[in-house]
């Protein structure tokens, strides 16, 4: 038997191979030891354009391309390093101040070490992804140097050395190597360029800096480095305060205000055993001290009351909670508690003697408790809970403004660093404590901040200032704020995307020659009388219709959709951008496109009088609106006319118009009514949401008036056929791709969602709301009428809408067929197909349908379930954000339109609290809170009858306000202190009708 032991001496590789052993624990708690090889090499380039040796050995990819060298030969200099310098940040530097590195004014020529990248990835994935993004941007010149694979810079961990120390040492070794390498390279080149750039290590670790000094390498703390730059003040604010703050506090040994979080393993076991629960933390919009969290174990969501129980969670965080004993269960509060009124005059700098719960807050909460105890016997208490740990922070960048009162007057002008409060626009986010040197400058501006941390000993989270968007209430700043707040991608399309556009630009035409490859498998429908019907001023026309009688008495109806998938090929830069944007966002004065203008408003848009590629769905339909057969095909069409809803309506109503196009529209109208009836019979819901339109002055585009939208028959004409097309396509792609079809579902709302509304209707009006099926609900909504008040029904519908689940895109393989149902439309299966110009989901559906009819093979990316799930997840979020941004934009402009005006208008009470009520004004589609203290000065006494939903006041003003009551309010505009938004303010004039006699 010979020995299997390898003699290392004879092995030529031996010195180049090392191994890496690490231990990790898996989710299930197992400990794994992993051994991996490391091949050390000498051909990893330094990537500096100064170096002439590295380029000779630089690697090439499989197709022989040489990745270009990144670091410039003449890097920027600073006072300290006039010869120019390359930066090598360590992990802490990146963790604390990645925002800095994203600046365009400085931080070029940065070397990111593999060691640092690995560490960053383990510490924070979002930061890692941002950094990867940076390394890919060409103008920032970030280079990733794989120091652990390079023989000269590889560092073996010593016995007893901590991994952090080893990594720090690796960073220093790499810095040293770079310095020596560059010196050699420049000297070797022998030219008189001669200036050797310094290689500077950036670190916030004092120990590391000290050692670097000993090793004789250039090193600098972030702060020192930034101070040497030109716009130092601005940049200094961006350094996260975490570290500094901690040092400060350590000295003071501040007392902890909040309870410590459980350890990860304790939370994990708890969640597994069912003793703890995990979910997403949501804050009540009316009461900032009340949060709720939905967990599978309870059908009602868990309430989290008070600062201590909320324990540093912020809206959207994934948290773990512990349910409190049953005797502490409560009803959701009926009181409005707003942060700005509670803790108005706090000093941002005050650190000592700060209590978690201020005296006022405590009082407010105690009143609540009293009330609950008094009638808990028959109340419907909800389980309460407290947060014991945060699994995942969902912090993002927040838009807000500086609380002016927190800035001390004396140093407003000075450059001294001070702490200020930043009030986020989103009321559900707590105030953020920010240290800044530019307090004076950013007052009255919309600013962007991030939260860095929230320690146990701080009442508020600590963050840092990112940038200023502009003055409050200027159109630009407010719009950008809105877009940032809803995470809408609004930057111009990058060059890579524009490169994907057809080279002909606006001159692109459908090829005249039908032998052209573009015509392959396309049906020539240019002869059909096709028209489009859209809102006034519509530029991105993605649908058109036609109808004609067939000899057998049936009708042929076609829906033609812009063939976007012809222009946007899967997997190119344009497709990637569109899939990230997910949807076009419509604001009052602006549209943020999903696709570049050229496509959206010209080449794809089914404009009249020109030939366009389309994707057509064509049905044969009997006069009773039964579908005989359906057919999908790519086509070429020529729209005869682009109508607005109003024009179409006029034409249909005008009996003298007897041309083919009008006749076709009449046919469509007739069929659409029958389709609608069928849908209603099947239990489709007709719900409502307040819809208003802001009229703009055409030249200045200042808002001048608000109009409620009118409903025309031609609107539901288009609507019905779009629904029909969507449903037919959904069935078709599901048949072809049972696992990967992109569909849209709308879940049935849980019964508990309607409990409160049903009870309100019963108590106030004696009406019954049946919710067991969508049909039942539709019928009982129809019966919710008040003969004296036509708007009552709409009000109920608006309120019912808020009890619904949101519809979502999904990939068919992830749900069982019965779950596909669209509750609101009462359709078994549904997708989005009809607006590919502005929705990415439709584009995916187009590709799948094209594959289903064998027009082209299916791209791999829309064939993989995992990939599609990611797409769905993203577009669901984008879709929701886009809607919210749109509504927020309308809200803002309604406020602007009413600026300086005072109107009296009718409204309805939608919600009653013990110290206020919410009024909805249909004329402007606004709803707003009227607090007791707004009624009169001093604040009137009040009695709140929670059973009857009535609030009676006495004393300084006597009124009785009940739910659903009609009231008259005076509308004016005020600048809301808390959010810095101009908002409408409502004042109660009287309860009841407007007196017309006076």
């Amino acid at each position: 038997m010979t020995s299997l032991k390898r003699s290392l001496a004879s092995d030529p590789y031996a010195s180049n191979i090392s191994s890496k052993v690490y231990v990790r624990s898996t989710k299930s708690g197992k400990v794994q030891k992993i051994v991996r090889e490391l091949y050390l090499r000498q051909d990893i380039p330094c990537s500096s354009k100064l170096c002439t040796t590295c380029i000779k050995t630089a690697p090439r990819d499989a197709s022989g391309n040489l990745p270009p060298f990144v670091l410039s030969e003449k890097p920027a200099g600073t006072k300290k390093y006039p010869q120019g310098h390359y930066l090598i940040p360590d992990t802490n530097a990146l963790l604390n101040a990645l925002d800095l590195f994203e600046q365009t004014s400085a931080f070029y020529d940065v070397i990111i070490l593999q060691t640092v990248l690995e560490e960053l990835r383990n510490r924070s994935l979002p930061l890692y992804n941002r950094l990867i993004g940076l390394t890919k941007s060409e103008d920032k010149r970030f280079y990733v140097f794989f120091n652990d694979f390079r023989l000269e810079t590889y560092v073996v961990r010593d016995v007893g050395e901590s991994i952090n120390d080893r990594n720090d040492r690796a960073v220093r070794r790499a810095v040293k190597w770079y310095t020596e390498h560059l010196t050699q390279a420049v000297k070797g080149a022998g030219t008189k360029a001669a200036k050797i750039p310094a290689v500077v290590m950036l670190s916030d670790d004092k120990e590391n800096l000290k050692k670097a000094k000993k090793d004789g390498i250039d090193a600098c703390s972030l702060k020192n480095y930034v101070e040497g730059l030109e716009n130092a003040d601005q940049l200094l604010d961006m350094i996260s305060v975490v570290k500094e703050g901690r040092e400060l506090r350590d000295a003071k040994t501040a007392e902890a205000l909040y309870e410590e979080y459980f350890s990860v393993s304790k939370m994990m076991t708890g969640v597994k055993n069912g003793t703890l629960h995990q979910g997403i933390f949501n804050v009540s919009p009316y009461n900032y001290l009340e949060g709720s969290i939905k967990v599978p174990a309870f059908d009602k969501s868990l309430l989290i009351l008070g600062r201590e129980n909320i324990n540093r969670s912020v809206q959207g965080d994934v948290v773990v909670v512990e349910v409190l004993p049953r005797d502490q269960w409560k009803e959701p509060s009926t009181k409005i508690i707003e942060e700005e009124t509670m803790n108005k005059d706090e000093n941002a700098d005050a650190e000592e003697g700060e209590a978690v719960v201020t005296e006022r807050e405590r009082k407010a909460l105690q009143e609540e408790v009293k009330k609950v105890h008094s009638k808990s016997s028959e109340g419907r208490p909800q389980p309460t809970a407290r947060v014991v740990g945060v699994v995942k922070r969902n912090w993002r960048q927040y838009v807000g403004h500086v609380d002016e009162s927190s800035v001390s007057q004396s140093i407003k002008e000075s450059r001294k660093q001070q702490t200020v409060f930043l009030i986020p626009m989103d009321k559900r986010i707590p105030k953020i404590r920010v240290r800044t040197r530019q307090a004076g400058e950013i007052i009255g501006k919309r600013v962007l901040v991030t939260i860095d941390s929230w320690d146990r000993d701080s009442r508020y989270p600590v963050g840092h200032f990112v940038r200023s968007l502009g003055d409050l209430e200027t159109k630009g700043a407010e719009t950008e704020a809105l877009l940032l707040e809803y995470d809408v991608q609004y930057r111009p399309f990058p060059k890579a995307v524009l490169d994907c556009l057809p080279t002909e630009g606006h001159d692109w035409k459908v090829p005249a020659n039908t032998d052209d490859p573009g015509w392959k498998d396309r049906r020539d429908l240019r002869g059909l009388q096709i028209c489009s019907i859209d809102p006034i001023g519509c530029q991105d026309i993605d649908d058109a219709l036609h109808a004609r009688p067939l000899p057998n008495g049936n009708f042929e109806v076609g829906v033609h959709i812009a063939d976007v998938s012809h222009f946007v090929k899967p997997n190119n830069a344009m497709d990637a951008e569109a899939s990230i944007r997910g949807t076009t966002v419509y604001l009052v004065d602006k549209r943020i496109d999903m696709l570049p203008m050229l496509l959206g408003t010209d080449l794809c848009s089914l404009k009249p009088y020109v030939e366009r590629y389309a994707f057509s769905a064509i049905w044969e339909i009997t006069p009773e609106a039964e579908i005989v057969k359906s057919d999908f095909t790519k086509s070429v069409i020529k729209s005869r006319e682009a109508f607005s809803y109003e024009q179409a309506q006029i034409r249909v109503d005008d009996a003298s118009q007897q041309d083919e196009l009008t006749q076709a529209m009449r046919t469509l109208l007739m069929l659409s009514k029958k389709f609608k009836q069928k849908r209603m019979d099947a239990g489709a819901l007709s719900l409502s949401s307040p819809e208003v339109r802001v009229e703009m002055e055409s030249e200045t585009s200042d808002p001048i008036d608000v109009k409620t939208k009118k409903h025309l028959a031609t609107m539901s004409l288009v609507e019905e056929f779009m629904l029909l097309a969507n449903t037919s396509v959904a069935a078709k792609i599901y048949e072809a791709f049972p696992q990967t079809a992109i569909l849209r579902r709308h879940g049935a709302p849980p019964k508990t969602n309607f409990e409160e509304l049903a009870n309100q209707l019963k108590v106030k009006r004696g009406l019954e709301l049946r919710t067991s099926s969508s049909k039942e609900l539709a019928d009982s909504l129809d019966s919710c009428v008040d003969p004296g008040e036509p708007f009552f029904n709409t009000l109920v519908r608006i309120m019912a809408t808020r009890c619904m689940m949101s519809a979502e895109y999904f990939c068919s393989g992830t749900q069982a067929y019965p779950e596909f149902r669209h509750y609101g439309l009462a359709s078994e299966i549904y997708t989005h197909f009809t607006s590919p110009i502005r929705r990415y989901a439709d584009l995916v559906a187009h590709r799948q349908l094209a594959a289903a009819i064998d027009y082209e093979p299916l791209a791999a990316s829309v064939r993989s379930k995992g990939k599609l799930e990611l797409v769905c997840k993203n577009i669901n979020v984008r879709h929701r954000n886009a809607q919210q941004a749109g509504r927020a934009s309308i809200e803002y402009y309604v406020g602007q339109a009413l600026k300086g005006r005072i109107v009296e208008e009718e409204g309805f009470v939608m919600k009653v609290f013990s110290n206020g009520f919410v009024v909805f004004v249909p004329r402007f589609g606004i709803e707003s809170l009227i607090r007791l203290r707004d009624l009169a000065e001093p604040e009137p006494e009040s009695v709140f009858d929670a059973e009857e939903y009535v609030l009676r006041t006495s004393g300084s003003r006597v009124v009785e306000v009940g739910l659903f009551d009609k009231v008259v309010v005076r509308i004016s505009d005020v600048k809301e202190e808390s959010t810095g938004k101009r908002k409408v303010k409502l004042e109660l004039v009287k309860v009841g009708e407007v007196d017309t006699h006076e």
């Binding site: 499989a62 990733v144 809102p535 026309i541 519809a807 609101g824 791999a860 879709h879």
Partner: protein, 296 residues
């Protein structure tokens, strides 16, 4: 432009934004620990970093094999034996035979050819998790069949009628390219056993730097994947006959875009030639020793 159908539909998109959003984000999420306990050593990067510097997870380039070392005649008691390492994948192979078929059962070459049987045993400690494989593990038996069939074609089995060539493989350590390592170890052991064959069967794996559905146009092919890469990327195992381009084994169990297949295969076949070079050296060294009379 937006139509009513959307408004109708949007009505179900939940309540007004400024107001409560009870349905937003309420789907329960899986527990994931983002906070690493402080003592664990950071996990290395994943395969997505390849494009940053054209370096793989272990520092290799796209067309580099791992260290491949082998010995031959490691076990005197066997008719032929070998020990082979491809990176951290370590395999022992022993060959018994050609021996006369046992009378019992169906064993033994039926008719005029020798029967090749392969038995693979994977040690419980060979992987990251200690795991006992079932006796009739499907993956293992498929590997056995693949190897047996490949050598049936290559060995001159017709020289040994009514006999059995039993190959036994022991996997000591697994780090990717297991089938390839087994094939290479078999080749060496069979040569050691002195069984005539057409040529070496040399195997290796080839992969692609981007996963099936990712839209990376510039995916590089990869040679000789380790476990991490096998878990994340599409790959195939290919074996060729000696220096020819004749493919004797080709196994792929992952999805890959057709366009990338050709590149992967070409790199794989090229890798096989490099492997042959290494195996040939091992055999020749052994031959020199035998000639010197110092083999024992």
């Amino acid at each position: 432009m937006r139509h009513g159908e959307e408004h109708r539909e949007n009505n179900f998109a939940g309540p007004n934004p400024a107001k409560a959003l009870p349905h937003q984000n309420t789907t329960p999420q899986h527990y994931n620990t983002t906070q690493q306990p402080p003592h664990t050593i950071p996990m290395p990067l994943d395969t997505s970093t390849y494009s940053l510097a054209l370096l793989r997870l272990d520092g290799r380039r796209w067309n580099e094999l791992r260290r491949l070392t082998a010995q031959i005649s490691t076990q005197a008691s066997a008719d032929g034996s070998s020990y082979l390492e491809m990176g951290n994948t370590k395999v022992i192979c022993t060959v018994t035979g050609p021996a006369e078929a046992k009378m019992t059962g169906t064993g033994g070459g039926a008719g005029d050819k020798a029967l090749v049987t392969v038995a693979i045993s994977i040690a419980g400690f060979s992987g990251v998790d200690r795991k006992r494989r079932a006796r009739n593990d499907k993956r293992v038996s498929e590997m056995q069949t693949t190897i047996a069939e490949a050598f049936c074609e290559t060995l001159f089995t017709h020289l040994y009628p009514h006999s059995t060539i039993a190959i036994s493989l022991h996997v000591l350590s697994q780090d990717g390219s297991l089938l390839a390592a087994c094939l290479n170890a078999c080749t060496l052991a069979l040569i050691d056993a002195g069984i005539p064959m057409r040529d070496y069967i040399c195997a290796c794996t080839a992969g692609s730097t981007s996963s099936y559905s990712s839209n990376d146009e510039q995916a590089d092919p990869l040679l000789d994947l380790n476990t991490m890469e096998e878990q994340e990327l599409p790959f195939l195992t290919v074996a060729t006959l000696g220096l020819s381009d004749n493919v004797s084994v080709l196994v792929m169990e992952t999805r890959v875009q057709v366009g990338r297949l050709e590149g992967m295969l070409a790199v794989g076949v090229d890798g096989c030639k490099q492997v042959r070079e290494i195996l040939d050296n091992v055999v020749r060294k052994r031959g020199v020793k035998i000639l010197e009379g110092s083999q024992l």
